[in-house]
């Protein structure tokens, strides 16, 4: 489980970084989205992996913390999801505006010469 997820995080990160380093704004936005998946999974993993132990209490009786997975990283990921959604939307619009104003979808707003 841990190995699979680590590998997955690595693969998504690598794909995301490859795209982040590309010259087209669309590649960058896809890259950032991939990276935010990777980071979300990473944060999530920091609470360690458990199956069948969602942090939703069954009863109001005394709680055994060991019976549930760590809820904190989940809360952090939720916050991170929202923020990355917002920033993705923003970046999208900025790249559209840049494309509109500069006429190019290159990240520098102009086609590389040569």
């Amino acid at each position: 489980m841990e190995l699979t997820l680590s590998a997955a995080i690595g693969i998504i990160t690598a794909s995301g970084i490859w795209l982040l380093l590309r010259p087209r704004t669309y590649q960058v936005i896809i890259g950032l989205s991939l990276l935010s998946y990777a980071v979300n999974l990473f944060i999530f993993g920091m609470g360690r992996l458990r199956t069948g132990a969602p942090p939703v209490l069954e009863t109001g009786a005394a709680v055994d913390p060991a019976a549930y997975t760590d809820p904190v990283p989940q809360a952090l990921v939720l916050t991170a999801i929202v923020i990355s959604f917002a920033t993705t939307a923003l970046f999208l619009v900025v790249l559209l505006a840049a494309r509109g104003l500069t006429g190019s979808d290159h990240v520098d707003g102009r086609e590389p010469h040569g």
Binding site: L3, T4, L57, P71, Q74, V82, D105
Partner: protein, 965 residues
């Protein structure tokens, strides 16, 4: 009046006067001049009031705390040397003010001039009376600034601007060096207080840091005193109005440098380093200045180079480190100030009267202005060191010191010869000045008809020349006591016996004087004609100090800097990101390499084959998305969706139902958003392959390697942490208290709306801000020309509809959406119910305000897709900004309600309410807070989606408008 008050007033008055005059109207010459003169005179008087104190051998002091923790005090301290200089500064200052009042043209905005002048005077006074080295540096730089303003007074002239800039750059640079030097002295001594520094001579000279400190201090003094090799700025400062030159280059500015050397003489002098550095600079300046002065055609040019030369003389004297040398140096400072000030003023008169300062055009002026001529001649004679004038006496002392042996060094050996040579050259240029300007046939070609200037313009010259004479004839009675006070304050117990007299008998110095005078005279006889017509100094003709300075400055401060900036930086995004990723990679792995690190052995235990397969799919999608994003945008988006889906499934698999639902919803909305945007991006086809050069392939290889490294790094870190025992952290608290104190069973949700509700607060604010930004950006959105027209598909379909008589325009799209839109519309209330469901059960089960809000927004967007913007907005009034504002305020109010119970912000409250027939209903303030979240999320998400969607409508409208025109 107590001495402290006198001292303070002396510093405060000029600055106050400066502030006052600068506010006067441009034409109020008399008021401005009067103020300046009165202040100069007042300060002069103040200095005299302090005479009793300094005459006693004490020093007047005042001190106010400024930054006590750093040893910086605003302390003033007037000893003999300072007092003598204060007299000079204020006295000559007063004379220059009188002179300037008549010199400056009626149209000149004089108040500004006098304002700068007073500021300069204040700063100069500050230098001499500063009791703290840092304070001295402060005043030091102030003189640079004020002189910059004064030199650049006629700033519409290129030469004034250049001269001012050069003076400022060079002297400020020196000032900064001095600053560091002073810091080092402070470090050595442990204090910046002048008294303590002056008492620590041995400590300073013996310290490891003596040489750096000395070099830095000398950088300051040499630049200020225009000593070789920093002399070049001074001639160009002549672009200033002549009163400025008269002031700056006689008694003040340039004297600051030698003053400071005299000031630090007791603590820094007497070492070989001091001797060599000062001696070298002084000698070269002395001879070179005199040599260059000979060749000048500009009256002020001669005076400027002569100033360099005389300051070189003073520096040489100080270099010797002998008490007598110091005495002579101080004496010559005073003498030089008097005759040089008067000469500058005379030059100004000539310029003023004839309209030129060019020696080649001036001739026989004596006939027109005999009085001025006489005064100028006497002053020149003083400059040349003619007996019975003050310059002679100090020069005699100079010669006497030059022949003494101080150090066993070459410099010491050649000193007498250099002294004689320099003095001879001084005689030559003085002769040339007098001869060329006043003697000879009266020229006819003056721009203006010359005559004697107004009395008050002549008066200052007269007074100064008178001083030269009196001091030259009876030095012991006149200047003697005052000089002694100054000398005592510098040398203290080491003060030697010396006598100020015209006649000491036939001594070596006298012989040297004779040689110099006659040699200079002979030289002038021989070379007069050549000098008159020379195109510039021999050997130095092509060396233009200004040009070299400008070239160096341009190379260093422009070409080199640009190169460095381009080489060390970039304005392109990709290298920046490359650096960022590399930095992160290095940062994360340096500690691991450093401390040695072994992750847990790879283990396939509890690896579920389905899970592995799932990630095989997800990983492929990610890699493929990376591969395809350039040409196949839609495919990349779909692949991204695939990865996202796998991620969501993973969350489900690993006990995070909240995350799964939220991530799914967000992904759906994000996909729609990106698709909305895709319409405005340029078409890109795989057919148009960009040129692949070896370089670009290399770059891609590098990026790929970095990406793989970064991915591997993340894997290693993730694996390392996940395979370790979880720390005993804060999680247990949340699990234990969630139900009992937070009133909810969904711990994640309770964390979000209660334990860490503040995070949520911030997070929804981010969403709101972004929505506002998106809205603002899109309101001014200007699509690129090639994407303004409708998409190709729509054009084709419209053309088809128009070509077929049985089709109404737009029939294709109507048919296309006919049945689907029915379903999509009927799903709207269903989605509302779903949102309500997600919202209400959030506290106890997966869901919550955020998920509900996004679901609701998805419902909205579905309607937009089904029927178009106009259709929806005809029917639904969506006020997203209001939703956002209300949501934030609601959340805020819920949080703030805790204040009513004197609890911290966001303190929650919950209880189970027993409603008849309905049963127990949980009520938590957290839910209300969540309602605020819901409201904001709906508003924000919808605002973004709608703002994007509206672009199509806008361009449609624009297109229609164009068609109509």
């Amino acid at each position: 009046m107590p001495e402290a008050a006198l001292l303070t007033m002396m510093i405060v008055l000029p600055f106050a006067g400066s502030l006052f005059t600068v506010m006067l109207p441009a034409r109020s010459r008399n008021l401005a001049g009067g103020t300046a003169g009165a202040i100069a005179l007042a300060c002069h008087a103040l200095a005299w009031f302090l005479y009793p104190v300094v005459a006693d051998g004490r020093s007047a002091r005042m001190s106010i705390d400024w930054v006590p923790s750093l040893g910086l005090e605003f302390s003033l301290r007037m000893d003999g040397l300072a007092w003598l200089f204060a007299l000079l500064i204020t006295g000559i200052g007063f004379l220059v003010v009188v002179y300037a009042r008549y010199y400056m043209a009626a149209e000149d905005p004089v108040p500004r001039f006098f304002s700068y002048f007073l500021a300069f005077m204040g700063a100069m006074l500050g230098i001499v009376v500063a009791g703290n080295l840092i304070l001295l540096v402060v005043f030091w730089e102030l003189t640079s600034i004020a002189s910059f303003l004064l030199i650049g007074y006629w700033h519409h002239n290129q030469s004034a601007r250049d001269g001012a800039r050069m003076a400022m750059t060079v002297t400020a640079m020196g000032g900064l060096a001095l600053f560091v030097g002073v810091l080092i002295i402070g470090h050595i001594v442990g204090s910046y207080d002048l008294d303590r520094v002056l008492a620590s001579g041995g400590l300073i000279r013996g310290h490891d840091l003596y040489v750096p400190a000395l070099v830095l201090v000398l950088l300051g003094t040499f630049t200020k005193s225009a000593q070789f090799p920093f002399h070049f700025w001074l001639p160009h400062a002549m672009a200033a109005p002549t009163p400025v030159s008269a002031y700056l280059h006689s008694a003040t500015m340039v004297k600051a440098g030698v003053f400071l050397m005299a000031r630090l003489f007791p603590v820094m002098a007497g070492t070989p380093e001091w001797f060599t550095l000062l001696g070298l600079a002084g000698m070269v300046s002395f001879v070179l200045g005199a040599y260059l002065a000979m060749f000048q055609h500009d009256l002020k040019g001669i005076l400027a180079y002569s100033t360099i030369s005389h300051l070189g003389l003073i520096t040489m004297l100080l270099s010797l480190g002998s008490p007598l040398g110091a005495v002579a140096a101080i004496f010559h400072m005073v003498n030089h100030a008097t005759f040089k000030a008067s000469l500058f003023m005379a030059a100004g008169i000539i310029d003023h009267e004839t309209g030129t300062r060019d020696l080649r055009r001036l001739s026989g002026l004596f006939a027109y202005m005999p009085i001025t001529g006489t005064l100028a001649m006497v002053a020149s004679a003083a400059m040349a060191g003619v007996p019975l004038l003050n310059g002679f006496i100090s020069k005699e002392m100079f010669f006497a010191e030059a022949v003494e042996t101080h150090e066993d060094a070459l410099l010491d050996t050649i000193a007498p010869y250099v002294a004689v040579l320099g003095s001879a050259l001084a005689v030559t240029y003085s002769l040339r000045l007098i001869h060329s300007v006043f003697l000879g046939a009266p020229s006819e070609s003056f721009p203006r008809q010359p005559h004697e200037p107004p009395f008050f313009m002549r008066l200052p010259v007269f007074l100064l020349v008178l001083a030269c004479l009196i001091v030259g004839i009876v030095p012991g009675v006149t200047i003697g006591p005052y000089l002694h006070i100054a000398v005592l304050s510098v040398l203290g117990p080491a003060t030697p016996d010396y006598s100020l007299a015209v006649w000491h008998g036939v001594t070596v110095p006298l012989i040297m004087s004779v040689i110099a005078l006659s040699g200079g005279f002979l030289l002038y006889l021989v070379a007069a004609n050549r000098l008159e017509h020379s195109a510039g100094p021999l050997l130095f003709r092509h060396i233009d100090g200004q040009r070299i300075f400008e070239q160096v400055q341009v190379v260093l401060s422009w070409r080199l800097a640009r190169l460095a900036e381009a080489w060390l930086g970039t304005r392109r995004l990709q290298p920046q990101l490359l650096l960022l990723v590399s930095a992160a990679l290095v940062a994360a792995f340096l500690p691991l390499f450093w401390h040695g690190f072994a992750p847990a052995p790879l283990s396939f235990a509890n690896a579920d084959p389905a899970f592995v397969a799932l990630w095989a799919v997800g990983g492929c999608c990610a890699v493929a998305a990376a591969h395809q994003a350039k040409f196949h945008r839609v495919l990349a988006l779909a692949l991204l969706g695939g990865t996202g889906l796998v991620t969501c499934t993973t969350f489900v698999w690993l006990s995070a139902p909240d995350l799964a639902a939220t991530q799914l919803l967000v992904e759906i909305v994000t996909a729609v958003l990106i698709l909305l945007g895709l319409r405005w991006l340029p078409k890109r086809s795989e057919l148009i392959h960009e040129l692949t050069t070896p370089m670009s392939r290399l770059r891609r290889g590098r990026d790929l390697a970095l990406a793989i490294c970064a991915g591997g790094g993340m894997s290693v870190l993730a694996y390392a942490v996940m395979t370790r025992e979880a720390p005993d952290g804060i999680a247990a608290f949340f699990l234990e208290k969630s139900y009992s104190e937070g009133g909810g069973r969904n711990v994640v949700n309770v964390i979000l709306v209660d334990f860490r509700a503040f995070d949520t607060f911030g997070e929804i604010t981010v969403l709101g801000i972004v929505a506002l930004t998106v809205f603002a950006l899109l309101r001014r959105f200007r699509p690129a020309p090639d994407s303004i027209s409708s998409p190709e598909q729509q054009l084709l379909q419209r053309a088809y509809d128009e070509a077929h008589p049985d089709r109404s325009p737009g029939a294709t799209v109507v048919d296309y959406l006919f049945v689907p839109s029915v379903i999509m519309q009927w799903l709207f209330p269903v989605i509302i119910v779903l949102a309500a469901y997600l919202f209400l059960r959030g506290h106890d089960a997966p869901g919550g305000g955020f998920a509900a809000g996004v679901a609701m927004a998805a419902g909205f967007i579905l309607q937009y897709m089904a029927a178009g913007t106009i259709w929806v907005e005809d029917r639904l009034r969506v006020l997203p900004v209001t939703w956002m504002g209300s949501g934030l305020l609601l959340a805020l109010l819920v949080g703030a309600a805790a204040w009513l119970f004197d609890r911290p912000f966001l303190t929650s409250h919950f209880r189970y309410l027993d409603i008849p027939f309905v049963g127990e209903v949980p009520l938590a303030t957290g839910s209300l807070f969540d309602l605020g979240v819901f409201s904001l999320v709906v508003g924000g998400t919808v605002l973004m989606l709608i703002a994007l969607a509206h672009q199509s409508v806008r361009s449609l409208r624009a297109a229609r408008a164009r068609e109509q025109v």
